[in-house]
Symmetry: C2
Amino acid sequence: MDCGNSCESCEAAALCRGSGEFLDAAERSVLADAARASRGFILDMVAATGTGHLGMALGCGEIGAVLFGKFLRCDGTAPGWVDRDRFVLSAGHGSAFLYTWLHLSGYAINLEDLRNFRSGSTAAKSHPEFYRSLGVECTTGPLGQGVANAVGMALSQQLFAGKLGADARQMHCRTVCLAGDGCLQEGVALEAIALAGLWELGNLILVYDDNGITLDGPSSATNVGRMDALFRSCNWKVQRVDGHDLDELAEALLRARALPGGQPQVIIAKTVAGKGVAAIEGSPAAHGNGLRTEELRRVREELGLGPEPFAVPNAVAEYFSLLSRRRRWERERWQENFAEVLERHPDAMELLFPKPFDGERWAASLGPLGGEKRPTRFFGGTLLRELAKKLPQLVSIGADLFSSTGTAIGDGSYYAAENTEGRNVQCGAREHAMGAIANGLAYDGMFRPIVSTFLVFSDYLRPAIRLGAMAKLPILYVFTHDSIAVGEDGPTHHPVEMLPSLRAIPHLNILRPADGEETAGALAAALDGKEGPAAVILTRQGVPSLDSIPVQRRRNGVHRGAYVAKLETEPLELILLASGSELHRALASAEGIPSCRVVSVPCLEAFNRQPQAYRDEVLPPHCRKRLAIEAAGPMSWWCHVEPENVISVDDFGECLSGELLLEQRGFSVATIRERMRELSGRSL
Amino acid sequence: MDCGNSCESCEAAALCRGSGEFLDAAERSVLADAARASRGFILDMVAATGTGHLGMALGCGEIGAVLFGKFLRCDGTAPGWVDRDRFVLSAGHGSAFLYTWLHLSGYAINLEDLRNFRSGSTAAKSHPEFYRSLGVECTTGPLGQGVANAVGMALSQQLFAGKLGADARQMHCRTVCLAGDGCLQEGVALEAIALAGLWELGNLILVYDDNGITLDGPSSATNVGRMDALFRSCNWKVQRVDGHDLDELAEALLRARALPGGQPQVIIAKTVAGKGVAAIEGSPAAHGNGLRTEELRRVREELGLGPEPFAVPNAVAEYFSLLSRRRRWERERWQENFAEVLERHPDAMELLFPKPFDGERWAASLGPLGGEKRPTRFFGGTLLRELAKKLPQLVSIGADLFSSTGTAIGDGSYYAAENTEGRNVQCGAREHAMGAIANGLAYDGMFRPIVSTFLVFSDYLRPAIRLGAMAKLPILYVFTHDSIAVGEDGPTHHPVEMLPSLRAIPHLNILRPADGEETAGALAAALDGKEGPAAVILTRQGVPSLDSIPVQRRRNGVHRGAYVAKLETEPLELILLASGSELHRALASAEGIPSCRVVSVPCLEAFNRQPQAYRDEVLPPHCRKRLAIEAAGPMSWWCHVEPENVISVDDFGECLSGELLLEQRGFSVATIRERMRELSGRSL
C-alpha cells in the first residue's frame, strides 16, 4: 500500500495496519467472530427494550468489525484525543450498531447501558446524542445531517492542520461517516458532498451502506442508481466493495487512508439489511422490527452464539483487549511527541486551550459606536472583524451572501484547499449544508462558527439549527435583512414568521439589537455564553444611534434581555416595548409623553430568565397598559402584552419600499400614537 | 430533427419550428434585435426604479429571444391553456427578464407595469409572484425552489397525460425552467433533479444559465464544476451551448423537445452575466447594481437602441405581433380538437373542471368513527382513502414514510414512468423537494397534493410550505407523530417547537384533531377551503374516541376552530383548553368538577377568525381562570391564556417512553389537577 514517497498518509496506514497483507487468517477469523457477536448484541438490545431498528445495525456487522476492530485510529480511554479518527453514524436509527462497537472498543458504555437501550439509559439512546466522552461525536437521526456534520469535522481538521505548517504531517486523523440511502437522498447531504469535493477534503471517508432497501420498499424505487457517477461528478474517489467481505472492506479503507489527499473518498459497500437473521434479511421489515423470544434463541444459535445475551467469544474479547492496549500506547506515544510540536505553534495551542472570553469586558473596552445612521449589519461586520482578532477560533461560514451580510472576517479570503488560512468558508447557495457543516465544526470543538445569511432564509437551515440547539453547540448565527423593512425585494425576501419561529426553538437565544451599541452588547452576550447557540438579527436599513441612552447601558442591557430605554417622568401609565429598528419608532412615539416608559427588548429569552425582581423593575406588574412594537409575527410578545396590543406583521410582506410598507402595516409614529391614545383612554 | 418514427414529439417540434433549418437569416436577425431590445427594457426598468438585478436578466437576452420568440408553445391571450409550455424562472432575481419577455409576447403585462417595476406595480414584482393570468407560473426568488416547482409541473402534465390513454399524444406541452448556479447549488434542486431523472420526466427541459459568477464571486469558488456529469448521474440528457448563439440555442431546444421521452433534458448555456454592458460584464457587480443615467444613455447607444426608454424596433414588434397571432390560431385549433378528445375521458375532464367539494356535507355523510383506541393517523389514512375515491385530483406525495404516516391512497401503488396511474408519489428521503414539487403540482392546478411526513421533519420542507402559503396553494399537509408522545425515538424525533412555528406562518391553518370524528372534521375543513394550505397534525399513539360528545358536534366543531367539549354544570370558574391527544387528559382532569368547562381547540387560527360572539360563547370573557394543555411549545396559547397557565413542552424531549415523558413534563391527570387547584385557589 505504500505509495513510495514515504508520505504521512502511508505512515498513517502503516501505523494502523496489522501484521498481514490486509488481513491474516487469525485476524479474519476474529473479526468475523466479532461481527457475529455484534449481531448478538444488537438483537439482545432490541429484544431487551422491545423496539429499535435492526436492519442497518445488523447489515453493517462486517463494516463495524473492520472499522472498530482494525481501521479506526482511536482510544476509548481518550475520546477527546485531538488526532483521533472521528466516526459519525449518519444513519442514526442504527444506534445499536454504534453503542455495540463503542462498548467492544473500550469506550465508557457499559453492559447496563446496552440493556437499557432506548429506555432511559444515560448512554445508549434511540438515536445517537452528542456525548464526546462516550465516543458519540454528534447527534444524528434526522437524515442527511450526519454526512454534513462529518464534512464539518473534516474541515475542522484541515483548518487545524493549517495552523501547524509543516508539522501538519503529525496529524493522521480522518473523519469516517457511515450513511445509508436515506441520508444520501437528502439535499443537505448532496450539498455537503459537493462542498467536500470542492474543498478537496482528502481526510474524509464516507462508507455508503448500500443495502438496497428503504422504509417504504426497495431503494431502486427512489434512487436513480448511479451513485458512483454522482460522487465522481463532485470530485470524490469511489470504491465499490462487498460489505460483508472483511478483506475487501479492509483493503478499501486502508487504501482510502493511504492515498495521497486531494479528494474525499466514498466506499460503496453492498450489504444485506438485517444480515444474519434469515427471516428479515433484505426486506423493509428489517428496518424497524424486533424479534420474538423463540426466534431470537434460534437466531442466536445460527450465529454460533451461546444462549446468554450479550455474549462475547473469548477470542474476540482478547483481541479487543489487546487492541485497546495497543491503541492507548500509540495515542500516548503520539501525545508525548505532539506536546513538543504544539510548543512551536501557539496559534494551534490556543485552539486547543482557548482563553476564556469575557464578553461584557470586551464590550466595555470598545470606543463609542454612535455617529451617523447605519445598518446594524454594518456594526455586526465591523465588530466581528474586531472579535476575530481576539478569538482565533472564530470561523465565518456563509452562503453566497458575504457581500450583503458583511460577515467576512480576517483578511476576507475564503477557505480553499490551497488557502487553509482563509477564515471565511464560502458554501455557495447551500444554506442547509452550511448549517450542518457549522454543527460539525462546533462538535469538533476547536473552531467556533459564525453562520450567516438573510433572516428569511434561516428556514433553509432550520433542521440544523434545531440540532445545534439540542446539542448546545456554541454557534453564532448572524441573520441580516431582518424585517419587511427590506422593502422592494418583496414578500419572498421579507422575514415575517422567522422571529417567533426561531424563538420557539429551545436553547436558542435570539438577539435583535437596535443600534451599534446594542449590537456590541448582542455579540458580547452571544459569544459569552458557555454553551448553546445564539442568533443575532440585524437590519439591512440604516438606523440612528440611540444617543440619548448611555453607551454602557445599551451594551449591558442586552445581557439582561431588556432594559428601560426611556423612563417616565410622571406616574407610569403606559409602556412601549420594542426590539431592533422598531425601538426608534417607539422612542419617537413616546417623545414628550411624560407618563410613558419605553423598554428596549433585544432578547426576550434572556429577559424571561431574569429574576422576578428585575423583570418587575423593568415592567412594573401594575402597569398593564403595554404596547409591543416589532415588525414580525406577534406571538412571542403575548407573554408580556395583551394579544390585541402588539403592533406586528401578521401577513406576508409585499413589493413596496420598506418605509411605505412599514407605514401601511401600522408602524408610523402617527399610527403608534393613535394606538397609544386608544390604550391609555385619553389624549396624550 | 424528425426522428423518423413520426412520434408526437417530432410533431410537436414541427409545430413549433419556423420556416428554416433552425433559424433562417431573417429570423436570426429579428431575434438578435429582440435580444438587444430586451436588454434595453431591462436597463430601463432597473433605471426607473433605481434597484433591481441586471446580471442574469441581461445575460439571458438570447435565451429569452429563442424561448419566447420561437420555442415556447404558448399564447399570451390564454395563459391558462392546458397544453401550454410552462415557463419557470427559477432564478427569480432576474424577474425583469420574465416581465420583459411576457410583455413582448402579448401577456397582460403593460408598459406601465414595467415602468413601475419593483415599486407597487400589481404585475412586475421584484421576484415573480404566482399570477397565472399574467403568465407567471409560480413564485420564485428563494433559490432552488423553481427547479423543484418545474419538476412538479412536469409531473402534473405526466399524471394528466396518464388519464388520456392513447390520446396523451394530443398533449405537446413541456415545462421549461431557467436556473442559475445559485438554484443548482441548493439541496432542494438536487433532490428534485434526482427525482426528475428517476421519474423519467422527458417533458422537462432545464436551461442552466452558466454565467460563471455568483454574488460573492466567480462560481468556480463554489461549484465543483462537473455539472454535466452530475446531471448524467441522475439520468438526464445533457447538451452544452453558447448561450449567446441563437442557432445553437434553437437547435438544442428543438432537439430537447423532439427527442423521444424518457429522460429530462438540461441545456447548459454558457453566458456572460450583464452581457451588453461592458462595464459590468462578467463581474459579480452585474448581479444587483443599476446604471447611472449617462452610462445608461451610452449603453443604449451601444445596443443600437434609440434614446427613448422601452424602445421596440419595428421589425421586432411586427415579428412578435405575427407570432402572437399564429400562436393564438394554433392554440384555438388545438382546443377545438381537444374538446372532442376530452369527451372520451371523463377522468381528465373532471381534473380540468372539478366538482365543488362540500367538506361539511361529506363529513356528515360518514358513519360513526368511534370504537377502540386508535391513533388519529389511522383515521387520517382511512379517511384520505375514502376522499380519494370522491376526489380524483388528490395525489399523495411522501418521503419514505408512507408505511408510518399511512397516507397512501388509491390502490397504494407508487407513481413511476411505467405506472402513471399510481396516485402515490414516493420521493425517498427528500422532504424539501417533496414540498416544492407539491407546490409545482398545486400551481399547475389540476391535482391537489397531500404532503406527508413526521411533524418533526416539517422543518425540512419549511421554505416550500412558506411559499405555498404565500401563493395560497390548496395543499393538504398531513404531519404525523405529533408530540413527545412518540416516546422512545428520542428528542431528534420529538416535535416541540413545530406547532407554534407552523402556526406563525400566515395563511396556513393547523388542525390537530383529538379523535376519529375530529379527524374527519379536520380533513373536511382542510379540503373545503377555497384556497390556501392546511396542515392536519396526527398522533402516532392510540387515543380513545370522545364518545361523550355527539358525533356531529365533534365534526363541525373543527370548522369553527374550537367548541365546548364539556359544559360546566355550576357557575363557570375554570376553563381547560386543549388540542389533539391532550384533550383526553383535559377531560379526564375535569371529570366530576362541576364548575369546569373543557374546550376542544383543534384549530386556533380558525377559532381566532370566528365572530366575537362565538368566541365569547366558547370562552366567556369574564372567566380568566384558564389552563391550556398542549404537548408543544406554549407560545400560540398566550392569546387566550395567561403565559404561566399553559401546560406545555418548553424543552426538547428525551429518550423515554411517551407515557413517562408526558408524565414528567406535567401532563398526568394528577399534575393537571394540581395546576387546576392552584389556579382556582381552592380544592376541587
